[in-house]
Each structure stands twice: as C-alpha cells, then as structure tokens.
Amino acid sequence: MTETRAMKIGQKELRELQQKAIAVEVSTATDAGSAERRLGLVGLYKKLGLEAPARSELTRMWQQLPQDQLVLAAMLDMHVERKTIQLLTPLAGAAQRIAKPCVALRLAMASAHTVLRQIDMAAAQYAELLNADKITLEVMLQLAEFVSSHPSSPALTAASKAFAGRKVNDSLPALLLYVLCRVSETENDPDVSLYLDRIHPRQISQSQILFDLARLSFRFGKWGKAVAAAKKALRISPEHESAKSLLVSAYSFAGHLYKAARCMLTLSKSRPPLSLGSQQLTAILDFAAKQQKLQLVSGVIAAKSKEEGNYQVCVPNSDESSRAAIQYIEKRGGPVGVSVIETTRTAVRAWDVLLKSDWRFPHVIVQQLGNCQILHAFVPSDGPDCWSWQEVSISIDGRRQLAEASKVYFIPGAANQRDEVGTTCSELFKQVEKELMSSPIQKELQ
C-alpha cells in the first residue's frame, strides 16, 4: 500500500511532505497548545498516508483541548468519515453545548447529524449556516450534497427560507443555483427552468450533484443539458448505473438512438431506463438492427422483454430485425447465434421468436448471472419441431470448465447429430467457446 502511495505521489513529493511534517513536529515543541498548527500536522500525516497516526494525534488533541471548536470539528469529520456512531453521538452532543459554533464546527455538526440520521438537526445547522452573511463554497457544496441525498428533508425548507428574496443572477455560483433548483422543485416552483438555464455542468464536479442536475434537466425537457450532465457524472463515476440509465433516456429523447443503444448495453444488467417508453425502446431496437448490431438487438430485446414481460411485442419489425441479425451472423462467418439475456423465461420466448422467424441456425443464449453464466443451447435434431433447449451452468473464466459443461449438457439423441449447416453439438460448443473467448461479444458488451 505504501509503495503504491509512493508511486502515486512520487518519492520526491513524499520526501518534501515528510520534511514539512518534521518541521511542524519540531515547532510543536515550543507551542504544543497551538491547535491550528497541530491540525495542519494531522493533514500532513494524512497526505503521507499515515492514517492511524493522524487519528491518534487528533484524538490526543481533543483530549487536551476538548473545547476547541476546530479540534472538535476535525474530530467530528473524522468520525463521520469512519462512520463510528458510538463516538459520533457524544461528540455531536459536546458540539451542541458550544454556544457560538464557528462555520467549520457547524458544518461538521451538520455532517454528523446526517450520519446519525438526525435530519432535522442537520437541516437546522444548514439553516444557521445559510443565515451567515457570506456563504462559503464549502457550505454550499455540502448543502447541495445534503439536499440531493435528502430531497424531502426539512433542509429544503430551511434552504428555501434562507433563499427567500434572493435575486437570481448570473453571478450566483452554480451550486447555489442547484440548491435553488432543488428548493423550487420541491415547492413546484416554475422557476426551476430559469435556474437550470443558468447552470452548466462544467461548473460542477460532484458526480451525485451532476446526476441530480441531469435528472432535473431531463424532467424539465432539457435533453442536451441532461446528456451533458449525465456524461460528466459518468466521467467522474463510470459505474454510476442510474446515470447511465438516464443517459440512455436523454439520448433517445434527443434523437441519438444509436448512442442510446450503445449506452444501454453498458448497463450492467441491461435494464431499460424506467423513463424510456416502449416507443423509444422499439426505435432503438430497430435502429440497432439496421446497424446490424446483433448484440444491441439482443440486449434491447432482453431489456424490453424484461420490462413488458412479453418478448414478441418488442420485435415489432421482427422480420427486418431478424434478417439483419441473420445477415450479421453470416457476415461473421459462423452459424452460431449468441444472445446475452437475463432470465430463463426470456430464453424460452427468444426461441419461440427465433423459430417463428424461420431461424435455422443453432443458437446459444448466454444468461448473465453474476459471475456465472447459464448457457441455453438450442440444438436441432430432426427438424424445427424437435428442437429442444437445455441449460448448463458454467463458469466463463476458463475453457476447461466450458468443455466439461458441454459434456454434461449433451443429451442422448441430440449429441453428434448434424444440423443443416453440418455442425455437431460439440463443435457448436467449441464455437461458442471461441466466440466468448475471442470476445467480439465481450467487446460489444463493454
């Protein structure tokens, strides 16, 4: 861990930090009571990756200076970070007893009450903070985060009160405008749109707030802003599933169907965004089929199927889509179709459609289930009517397991029978394996 840290910030910088820490340590010998100096030292320890000494020194400071507001604030922040509820409660109690808390302590108290789920008390602290003449960026940032995570809280009321009568102009910081948006949204104030117009996602750097901004923009029909905010949120937190979902919706409503389809497949469970209607989904499906992206097609089919519980309805132009898919498979030179879907039920329905649409190739459906995948293989025997499907649990992390699984799979009567294209079941599995490992599918999924 330490090596990683040294690699991350560099030996030279690390040494400079240590020299600074050494100098401050020496300076504490003359003035051990200086809370600011020692708090600075705690910060240096953290930068050096010395978390335990930082905590230890802070605790010692608090024992020595229990009434010092900055020390108390730092202690609260530390336990908020570590979510140590047992210690947070008495600390918050001690902070409450301080007559005129400074901004840092109020902020720390607000965070502490939030972690302790004392939302009213946290809101009260924010209200006090907002009453100050000059609201710092730190206050706004924390308030914005609070409001975004507790949209129905009394904090909004407090914020609303604090903002009452405040004139909106371009000089207001984006975060403040964002808080205003949230306040107005709760109060069904039409000014939301007005505030939204003045915020640009580039002014905000917190992924949660960006996502919330995207949500607000989408809600008020500002597709472009929703796309920009969601994209930036995803740049900061690439795994933010809700942001991905929102981006799919925003793209589709903005008319960027291909992008929507691509984005949709990056969702870990191919779950369609709730905001996406059947019409948009169908449009994406058709678009993906026209683009001959089988994976997009199957992903959207799975998503749609999941949403509506009926596979067939999501292939309105099934002939065209299927033809495109078949062409795609043929272009790739393989007789095996592979779809990635979510449920067994979907798999069965998928086979129905494949049969009805004169699908004559053996097809394998891979069902994602956490780290495991379930292989649904549809194997022809004597003709379309005799086709059957089986499922075999396999692990995708190695060829051997797959080969073994295929042995388990083969049922008497189906094994070694040749289909029209002349592929045996074992060859079929080998091909599936090859497909999965050589990963055009994986790549498309990513």
């Binding site: 330490t2 690390l14 050494i22 401050v24 020496v26 010998a29 010395l50 230890s56």
Partner: protein
C-alpha cells in the same frame, strides 16, 4: 513528573543445585532484606506479597518466575533512579550474603544478574515508569514506538542465535502494543495501573534492556521520561517516522552496530534509526530550552553526545560508555585470543543454537553423524544447509559450541551486580567510563528516601511504624492494626496518620 525504575534480577548458582533450591534462595534473599535495612512487608490491598517496602521508599519482592524484583522509589530525575537502582542492589548483595550462609551455599557461587534474560529461554524485565497527567500509553503508541525501538543506548548487547546482537529483549517482542508482559509482549505496554489517584497515569515502558553502564541506564530512563513528558504536554513527535513493520525493524537493527541501516517507513520512505533518534532529540532540545528543569538539559546534552559520537566515530567511539559497544570490544578481544573473529563466531551461533538440545559440546569423533542420529530430520537438514552455505567445517562445531558457552558465561558475568562482576572489574580497571554516581550518593540512598516525592512520606512512616506489630505497606499506603497513612498523590511528601476504627 515522577519516575520509577524496576529491575527483575535472575539468580544464577554456579554449584550444582535444583530449581527448588534456586527458588528457595530467591525467597531467602528477599527475606534477608529485612535484616539489612528497615523494611515492612508488602501488602497490596488484601493480598500479602513476599516482599518489603524499604526505608528508602523502594520495594523489593519476589516476582513470579523466581526473580528478585528491585523497584526504586518514586523519584523526580533520571539520575536519582540510577542511584536508587544501585543502592538497592547493594542492599540485596548484603541480603544475599546472609541468605547464602543460611542455605549453606558459598556466596561466591551465587550471581545476582541485572539482565533481561537468563540465557535459559526466559525473559524478565527492566521497566521504566513515568507518570503522565493527560494521556495513557494507548494514546502515545504512534508517537512512542519509533523512539522506543531506536534507543541504541537502551540496548545491552547479547549473545544469541544471530551471534552478537545489540539487544537482549528484542527476540521476546511479538507485537507493537499489548497489555501482556509474558507471552505476547509488545513494544509499548498498555497496562493501566496508575498506583496513584485518578489524576495520574503511569506509562509503563517495558521494552528496555537492563544495562550495566550508568550512562546507558541514565539515558534510557532520562530520554524516555523526557519524551513521555513532551508527549504528555501535547508536543507531537514521531508519527512522521512511523515504521512500516516495527517488530521486523527490531530484528533488522539487531545486527546494525552503526545504527545506520535504513528502515522502511509507513509513508513509503526510508530512514535510519539514528536519523529517527536525531529527530526526537531535536524536538527535545527545543522543548528543554523552554523549561528550567536541569535534568532535561543534562539528558539532552548527553543524548546529543552519544548520537554525535556514534554518527562520527561509530561503535569504537562508545566502547567505554555504552553496554553493547563495551561488550563489542571486550568480546572481540576475547574471541581474537581464541583464534576467531566476531563474524566467524556469529556464523557459528545459529548452528549451535539449532544443535544445542542434542549436543553439549563434548568431544565427538564424527559430529555430523552424531547429530544426524539425534536431531529431528528437518532440524538437521537446516543445520547442514547452513553449515555448507557458510562453508563451515563440521569438525569445528564442538570447539565453537564451547566458545559459545564461554561467551554466554562471560555475558552473565558482565551483568553480575557484585563488585566481582565483569562490568565492575572493567570499571575498576578504568576500561569503562560511564560512572555518574559516587559512593556517597549510594550510601545516602540506601537508607534515605528521595525528599521530593511521596517516597519520603512512605519512608518516614515506615521508619515510625516499622516496630509496631502488623505494619504493612504498599505504594499508596502504610498501615497497621491501629492507624494508616494514605499516599494517593505521588508528589505529596507530607503524611498524616489516621486512626483506624
């Protein structure tokens, strides 16, 4: 600030004896203490203990494991701790004479050893106690650890499986912080036993070697007390030198007589032990400059001197002052007389330690086959591998084993607290230069308590009540059937007898 020093002294008997006899001798020595000075039995709470609180405020008792424990009275300066440690030892030597006569053992055959190992696989302790007002030891772990393990002046030098090493106590350490002093010993001891009222905390530093050099002991006690005092005053020193693996560092430093081998820090950087000590010293110098206490200035002056000397002149520069370097010179000379070197001796140390249970050093024609038949196969494999890797000769093993035993005897002799002990003979031959106290100090301390702590009150109360029947004492009380004195504050020197109902 109140300082105290505790020593557990193993007893070695040269003539044949049983374990029971040794134990009996320890009890007898402790019992005879009463005959050489005014003392009353110890009673902590309701539990009587085999030991005595002495007129000079000290406590001498039999510790578990058959050690004589010598605890100095509460003192205010490190030099007083050194004085009372030796004064009590002089009392113990008088008691030893009486006990030996009583048990029909020649006094010359008994060694009372100031060391933290008996070289029979047991570890005892030299503990430095420092009072604190604000913080417990647990609050200081991060700050104290780098300091404690890099105190080269607190090392005594040792003979072991790695040859001659810096510390006797290092092999016994298992963890960074622990309350346990027997099995899972830690660098920092977390025991909470204030032995005073609630406003006092007792920082109980157990990771020390028992050094013979007065300068070593003075620095061990003084530097430790000074650093604890600084930390207790809110000074922040040490965490920027937090070690990545403190227990591993102990092993690493054991063969580093120059104290210059780089240790891995938790931050990803590296620093030498001497650099770490210098940092603590720099802070201590700044701190002591702002305080009037003379002992602090004395400590930092001597601390600076030993550091500078080690840095500029290496071990040679301290070969008359500090235990490990005195021993280094002494043992090197001795080995040279036997036609070998310390390096060669160190190479033999490990195979000897491995073969020790099966081989007493007697003459064997084919030592390899002799050991192969007696040692476990795995043990023999490693022994053979070590011997071939270091290009040692099997036939040298018996001679090396005899030499090894001799060196261990020499080390025990070095720590013998009698005037015939090797250290004291070196002192008399003017080969060491580490004396800080004179005989007048010692005579004064043998029968007078320090005047500026509660030890004075305790000593005075003991003087008054020693002849009354049933008088017992502890660190915090002197009592008998009729009256008692409470001593909750280690700094209060006056006392009032209170009648018991």
């Amino acid at each position: 600030m109140v300082i105290g020093l505790e020593n557990e002294l193993p007893v070695a008997i040269d003539s044949p004896h049983t374990q029971a006899q040794r134990k009996q001798l320890v009890s007898s020595i402790v019992n005879c203490v009463r005959e050489v000075t005014t003392a009353v039995p110890v009673q902590e709470g309701r539990v009587p203990q085999l030991g005595f609180m002495l007129l000079n405020g000290s406590k001498i008792y039999e510790d578990s494991g058959a050690y004589v424990e010598n605890a100095t009275p509460e003192v205010r300066t490190p030099i007083e701790a050194v004085i009372y440690q030796r004064a009590n030892e002089l009392l113990l030597l008088k008691a030893l004479q009486k006990a030996a006569t009583r048990m029909h053992i020649k006094p010359a055959d008994i060694k009372l050893v100031r060391a933290v190992t008996d070289y029979a696989g047991h570890y005892c302790g030299m503990h430095v106690n420092v009072s604190a007002r604000r913080y417990e030891a647990a609050d200081m772990v991060e700050h104290l650890t780098p300091f404690i393990i890099t105190r080269f002046y607190a090392c005594a030098g040792s003979i072991g499986g790695a040859g001659f090493t810096m510390s006797q106590k290092n092999p016994a350490i298992r963890t960074v912080a622990s309350e346990d002093t027997r099995q899972n010993r830690g660098i920092i001891n977390l025991k909470r036993e204030p032995l005073a009222n609630a406003t006092f905390k007792r920082i109980h530093i157990t990771h020390n070697d028992a050094t013979m050099s007065e300068l070593s002991t003075f620095l061990t006690v003084g530097c430790t007390a000074l650093v604890v005092k600084m930390l207790d005053d809110g000074v922040c020193v040490g965490p920027c030198y937090k070690l990545a693996d403190p227990v591993g560092a102990l092993k690493q430093m054991d063969n580093d007589f120059y104290w210059s081998e780089l240790l891995n820090l938790a931050s990803g950087l590296r620093a030498s032990p001497i650099e770490i000590q210098e940092h603590y010293l720099r802070v201590a110098e700044v701190y002591s400059a702002g305080h009037d206490e003379v002992w602090m200035k004395d400590v930092v002056k001597r601390w600076r001197w030993v550091l500078e000397t080690l840095r500029t002149r290496g071990p040679k520069g301290l070969c008359r002052e500090l235990d490990p370097y005195i021993k280094l010179r002494l043992y090197s000379t001795s080995l040279r007389k036997h036609g070998t070197t310390l390096k060669e001796f160190s190479q033999w140390a490990r195979p000897i330690a491995m073969a020790k249970p099966c081989f007493d050093g007697g003459h064997q024609r084919d030592i390899r086959n002799y050991l192969k038949e007696r040692m476990p196969a795995v043990g023999f494999y490693f022994l053979e591998e070590h011997i071939s890797r270091n290009r040692l000769n099997w036939c040298d093993l018996p001679r090396a084993r005899r030499l090894y035993d001799k060196m261990i005897s020499m080390d025990i002799m070095f720590h013998d607290i009698r005037e015939q002990g090797l250290y004291f003979r070196l002192r008399d031959a003017n080969m060491v230069n580490s004396e800080l106290v004179n005989k007048a100090h010692l005579h004064e301390a043998m029968c007078n308590p320090p005047r500026n702590t509660r030890a004075y009150a305790r000593g005075s109360a003991i003087r008054e009540a020693a002849r009354e029947s049933g008088t017992v004492a502890s660190w915090v009380e002197v009592r008998n059937r009729n009256r008692h004195v409470q001593l909750p504050d280690p700094l209060v020197t006056t006392y009032i007898w209170q009648q018991l109902k």
